[in-house]
C-alpha cells in the first residue's frame, strides 16, 4: 500500500521535509507569540481593571465623604439651626438649597426624627409626608455615629446619598444630601481610568443600565450579557468587540447596583496585531525563500540522481553508448564516476559474451559463463552428429579461397541454423565438416530424435542451397551425415588458459566413421542402431551391419527416410521389398536375394540395390565359410 506521505520523487520529499519543518517551526513561533500576546493582554487588562476597581471604590468613598462632610457642616451650622428653629418651611428649604449648591450636590432633604419630610429640594412644595428612604435612615440609626451613605433611587434615578443627624445640639432631624449618578459621572470616571464604566441596577429582575460610557447601541447587549450572580470577572462581546469585564458591587439590598468596569481586549491586543502582521509577513517571506532555496537544492541533488537513473535505464535497455556526465565532486559525483566504471565493465563483459557466443555455440557460452570454468568433464549420453560436404575438394580446385570461404560461410550459416533450431549445439567446424551435439551441455528427453530430425533438415536445407547454387552456375553439393548416440565424456578440455567445451569418446569416432560410410552406401545420412532405438518416430531403411576400424562390435546402420507418416506409400512398399531381399541375403539365399535386388535396382536408382546385387553375385561365385555373419568389415577410416 502506498502511504499518502510517500513521494515518488526525492525532490518532492526534500522539499516537503524542509517546508514542513519551516512551517512547523514558524507555526510554533506564531502560536506561542500569539498565545503569549493574548495572555499578556489579558493580564494587563486584569491588572488595569483591578486598579480601576480600586480607583472606582476610592472615588465612591471620596464622594461619600464629601457628602457626609457637607451634611456634618450643615449639622453644626448655627444659622441653619436658627433657620430650623423657625420651623419655617420656605426658610429651611432655601437654606438647604443654599447649602446644596455650596458643594454642587443634587439633592438635599431634611427629615424629622420620626421620618417625616420637613423640606426637600427635589420637591419644594412638599412640606410633610413620609420620607421614602426609610432604609437609609434605619442604617443611620443603627450606626455608631448616626450616619449612613448608600446608593438609592429617588423617582427611579440613582443617587449617592448620605445622611447625618442635625444636632441642636441633640439630634433633632436628619440631613440627607446626595449626588445624582448619571452619564456625566461615569464619563468622568472613564476620563480618569480609561475604562468603560457602566452602572447596572436591580439585576435579578432584568438588569437596567443606570449610566454607562458605552454607546447607546451596545447597552442592550450589555444588559443581556450581564449576570449579577456571575463571577466578578467575565468576558462579553459588545458591538463585535470582546470586553473583559470586572463587576464591583456598589450597593446591596433591594436596589442592588453594580458597577461594571470594562476594557476592550481588541484594543489591548492592537500592538500585538502589528507584531502579528510582521510575523505573517516574515513567515511568507521565509516560506518563499525556502521554496526557492529548497527547489534549487533539491534540483542540485536530484538532477545528477535523475541523470544517473536515466543512464541506468539506458543500460537496462541495452544502450551502452553514453556514459553519465555528472560534474560534481561530491557523493553523487563519486557515484556517477563509479557508475561509469561499471558501465565500462558491462560493455567489456557484453563484448566478451557476444564474442564467446560466436566462437562457441551460445548454449556453450551460457554454460561457460554460468559456471566456474574448470577443466574436466562428466559422463553423459550424447547424440553426436557429423556432417561433411561431398565434392568440396573438387569445388576448391575451381574457385578462389575467398569464394570457397564465402560458399562455406553460406553453407555453415544454414546448417547451423537447422542445428540450433532443433536444440543442437555446434561443437566445432572442421574444414567443411560440422560436429554437432545433442544432449550436451543441455539435456533434452528426445535428443536422439532431434539429431535425426536435424540430419533430415540439413538434407532439405542443402536442397535449397543447391537450387541457389545452380542458379549461380555453381556445382551441386551433396552431404554426408553420421549420427550416433553413446555415452561420452563432456566438459572443458585443453589447458587452463585455453580450453574447449567438447565431447570425447568412442561414440564420437563412430559418428565420424558413419559419416564416412555414407558415401559408400550412396546415402546422405547414416544413423547407428543406438540412435534408432532412441528415436523411433522415423521410417528407417536398414543399410547393413558393419565393423568399422577400431571397433570390434558390429554396428547396425540405417538411413532415416522421413518422419513416420510423412513417407510415400510407394517408398514404404519398396523398402519392405528391400528389407525382404536383405533377409534372404542374410539367410544365405543369395540367388533369391540377387533376384530381388536386381528387380529393385531396375526400378530405382538407389546404389544400395546395386551394392547388394553385386555382393550376392560375389557370394554365389565364392561361397563364404559357414561362419559368415553377413557383417561388412571396413578397414579404412
Amino acid at each position: 500500500m502506498t502511504s499518502p506521505f510517500r513521494f515518488k520523487s526525492f525532490r518532492a520529499r526534500i522539499l516537503v521535509f524542509f517546508l514542513g519543518l519551516l512551517v512547523l517551526v514558524q507555526a510554533a513561533v506564531f502560536i506561542s507569540v500569539n498565545t503569549a500576546s493574548i495572555k499578556n493582554a489579558r493580564i494587563q487588562i486584569d491588572e488595569a481593571l483591578k486598579i480601576t476597581a480600586g480607583v472606582f471604590g476610592r472615588i465612591m468613598k471620596e464622594r461619600e465623604a464629601r457628602l457626609l462632610e457637607a451634611a456634618r457642616l450643615l449639622s453644626g451650622d448655627f444659622a441653619f439651626k436658627e433657620a430650623f428653629g423657625t420651623r419655617d418651611h420656605s426658610t429651611i428649604l432655601s437654606a438647604l438649597d443654599n447649602h446644596r449648591m455650596r458643594i454642587r450636590a443634587d439633592v438635599m432633604t431634611l427629615v424629622s426624627m420620626d421620618g417625616e419630610v420637613i423640606a426637600d429640594t427635589l420637591n419644594p412644595e412638599k412640606i410633610s409626608g413620609e420620607f421614602g428612604l426609610k432604609n437609609l435612615i434605619s442604617s443611620a440609626e443603627e450606626s455608631e455615629f448616626g450616619e449612613a451613605a448608600s446608593v438609592v433611587f429617588i423617582e427611579d434615578r440613582p443617587y449617592q446619598m448620605a445622611v447625618v443627624p442635625l444636632l441642636v445640639p441633640m439630634p433633632d432631624a436628619w440631613i440627607c444630601i446626595g449626588f445624582l449618578i448619571d452619564d456625566r459621572f461615569v464619563q468622568e470616571l472613564k476620563a480618569l481610568t480609561q475604562t468603560q464604566v457602566s452602572l447596572l441596577s436591580n439585576p435579578q429582575a432584568g438588569a437596567s443600565v443606570i449610566a454607562s460610557t458605552l454607546p447607546l447601541s451596545e447597552r442592550e447587549a450589555l444588559k443581556a450579557a450581564f449576570s449579577a450572580d456571575g463571577p466578578a470577572q467575565t468576558e462579553m462581546e459588545l458591538g463585535g468587540d470582546k470586553f473583559v469585564s470586572f463587576a464591583v458591587p456598589i450597593s446591596h439590598g433591594k436596589d442592588k447596583v453594580t458597577a461594571l468596569l470594562q476594557r476592550s481586549l481588541d484594543e489591548a491586543l492592537s500592538p500585538y496585531k502589528r507584531l502579528k502582521s510582521a510575523l505573517i509577513l516574515l513567515f511568507a517571506l521565509g516560506l518563499a525563500l525556502s521554496v526557492a532555496g529548497g527547489v534549487f537544492m533539491a534540483r542540485t541533488v536530484t538532477r545528477p540522481v535523475r541523470d544517473l537513473a536515466a543512464g541506468v535505464k539506458r543500460i537496462y535497455e541495452g544502450d551502452y553508448s553514453e556514459p553519465v556526465t555528472v560534474e560534481q565532486e561530491d557523493e553523487i559525483g563519486r557515484l556517477a564516476s563509479s557508475f561509469n566504471h561499471m558501465l565500462k565493465g558491462l560493455i567489456e563483459r557484453d563484448r566478451v559474451r557476444s564474442l564467446l557466443g560466436k566462437v562457441v555455440s551460445s548454449a556453450i557460452a551460457e554454460e561457460l559463463l554460468k559456471k566456474e570454468i574448470e577443466l574436466g568433464g562428466e559422463e553423459r549420453e550424447v547424440t553426436v552428429l557429423f556432417s561433411d560436404l561431398r565434392g568440396f575438394t573438387s569445388l576448391c580446385e575451381r574457385h578462389t579461397p575467398q569464394e570457397i570461404l564465402s560458399f562455406l560461410n553460406d553453407y555453415f550459416t544454414r546448417i547451423s541454423a537447422v542445428i540450433e533450431a532443433n536444440g543442437g549445439v555446434v561443437d566445432k567446424y572442421i574444414g567443411d565438416a560440422v560436429m554437432a551435439l545433442f544432449g550436451a551441455p543441455l539435456k533434452n528427453e528426445d535428443d536422439a530424435a532431434r539429431a535425426v530430425r536435424t540430419a533430415i533438415g540439413m538434407r532439405e536445407a542443402l536442397k535449397g542451397l543447391n537450387a541457389e547454387f545452380e542458379a549461380k552456375g555453381l556445382p551441386r553439393l551433396s552431404l554426408g551425415v553420421g549420427v550416433n548416440t553413446a555415452t561420452v565424456v563432456a566438459g572443458n578440455m585443453g589447458s587452463i588458459t585455453r580450453l574447449n567445451y567438447t565431447v570425447i569418446g568412442d561414440g564420437v569416432n563412430l559418428a565420424s566413421r558413419l559419416e564416412g560410410l555414407s558415401k559408400k552406401y550412396g546415402v546422405d545420412i547414416i544413423v547407428s542402431a543406438s540412435t534408432l532405438a532412441l528415436a523411433p518416430g522415423f521410417v528407417y531403411r536398414e543399410l547393413d551391419i558393419v565393423r568399422v576400424k577400431g571397433k570390434s562390435e558390429p554396428v547396425g546402420i540405417y538411413e532415416p527416410v522421413g518422419e513416420t507418416g510423412a513417407v510415400d506409400e510407394a517408398v514404404v512398399k519398396e523398402m519392405e521389398s528391400y528389407h525382404e531381399g536383405l533377409k534372404l541375403y542374410r539367410e544365405r539365399r543369395w540367388d533369391l536375394a540377387r533376384e530381388r535386388f536386381r528387380a529393385l535396382r531396375e526400378k530405382s536408382p538407389l546404389s544400395l540395390y546395386a551394392i547388394y546385387e553385386e555382393r550376392a553375385s560375389g557370394l554365389i561365385e565364392n561361397p563364404p565359410p559357414s561362419e559368415w555373419d553377413s557383417t561388412t568389415v571396413f578397414h579404412e577410416k
Binding site: 449639622s75 453644626g76 448655627f78 439651626k81 436658627e82 430650623f84 428653629g85 426624627m113 440609626e141 455608631e144 455615629f145 448616626g146 443627624p165 444636632l167 441642636v168 445640639p169 441633640m170 439630634p171 433633632d172
Partner: protein, 218 residues
C-alpha cells in the same frame, strides 16, 4: 461620657426648702433593662391628688473647660438658671427647644440675667462655637425629683405622705417606648422604693478632638 460631674449644687437648695420632719422619701434605682445602671436619669414623682408648686428657685449651669457642668440638670418649673462662664474665652449658649428657646450671645463671666425656665419639658443646651458642648435641662412640673448617681441610684427627699406616680426621663430615652411610671405610696416615716427600667437609644453628639484636659469623644 462626661466624667466630670462638677459640684452638685442643687443639694443646697433641696435642703433650703426641706419640709418638716414628718415628710417621707423615695429611694429609687434606674436600670436599662440589661442590669446596667442609668446615670443622670431624672426621676420625678407626681402626686396623685395634685400638689402645690413650691416657690421659685435658682440654679446654675457652669461652663468649665468648654463643657457644660452637669450633663443633665433637673429643675422645677419657674427656676431661673444662670450660666457662668469659667473659661477664658467666650461661649454662646443657646437652645432651640420648644420648652425654652433662648440665646446668650458670646459672653464671658456670668451673664447679668439668669434664664427662667417657665415651661415644663426638656431643653437641649448647646454652644454656637463649640459644637460638642451639650447639656440638658429637665424642667419638671413637680418639686419632687432627683437625679440618679453613676450607680443609677438616688433618693427623692421630703415628700409628703401620699400616692405618687414615679416617672423617669433620660436624654437617651427611647422615644418610641414610653416607660411606665410606677405608683409609689409614701409614708411619713421611712423610705419607699421605686425600681425603674428604661429603654435607651443612641444619641449622637458632635465630635470633640482629644484635648490636654480631657478625652475627646464622638
Amino acid at each position: 461620657m462626661l466624667k466630670k460631674t462638677g459640684i452638685i449644687l442643687f443639694a443646697a437648695f433641696v435642703a433650703a426648702f426641706s419640709s418638716p420632719a414628718f415628710a417621707g422619701s423615695i429611694e429609687f434605682s434606674v436600670n436599662d433593662g440589661k442590669s446596667n445602671p442609668v446615670a443622670d436619669a431624672v426621676v420625678y414623682a407626681v402626686p396623685r391628688d395634685g400638689a402645690p408648686l413650691s416657690a421659685p428657685r435658682k440654679a446654675v449651669i457652669d461652663q468649665v473647660d468648654k463643657e457644660f457642668v452637669g450633663y443633665v440638670t433637673p429643675i422645677e418649673k419657674g427656676t431661673a438658671v444662670s450660666f457662668p462662664n469659667h473659661d477664658k474665652l467666650r461661649h454662646h449658649v443657646y437652645s432651640f427647644s420648644e420648652a425654652k428657646r433662648f440665646e446668650i450671645p458670646l459672653y464671658t463671666g456670668t451673664p447679668a440675667n439668669p434664664v427662667v425656665f417657665d415651661k415644663p419639658g426638656v431643653v437641649a443646651l448647646g454652644c454656637n462655637i463649640h459644637d460638642w458642648m451639650s447639656a440638658y435641662v429637665f424642667v419638671s412640673d413637680t418639686p419632687h425629683f432627683s437625679k440618679a448617681s453613676d450607680a443609677g441610684r438616688g433618693r427623692i427627699e421630703n415628700i409628703p405622705a401620699g400616692e405618687y406616680d414615679v416617672s423617669v426621663w433620660h436624654p437617651k430615652l427611647k422615644a418610641s417606648s414610653k416607660p411606665a411610671s410606677v405608683r409609689v405610696k409614701v409614708t411619713d416615716d421611712g423610705a419607699s422604693k421605686a425600681d425603674l427600667q428604661v429603654a435607651l437609644q443612641n444619641v449622637w453628639r458632635a465630635w470633640r478632638a482629644p484635648v490636654a484636659s480631657g478625652n475627646g469623644y464622638r
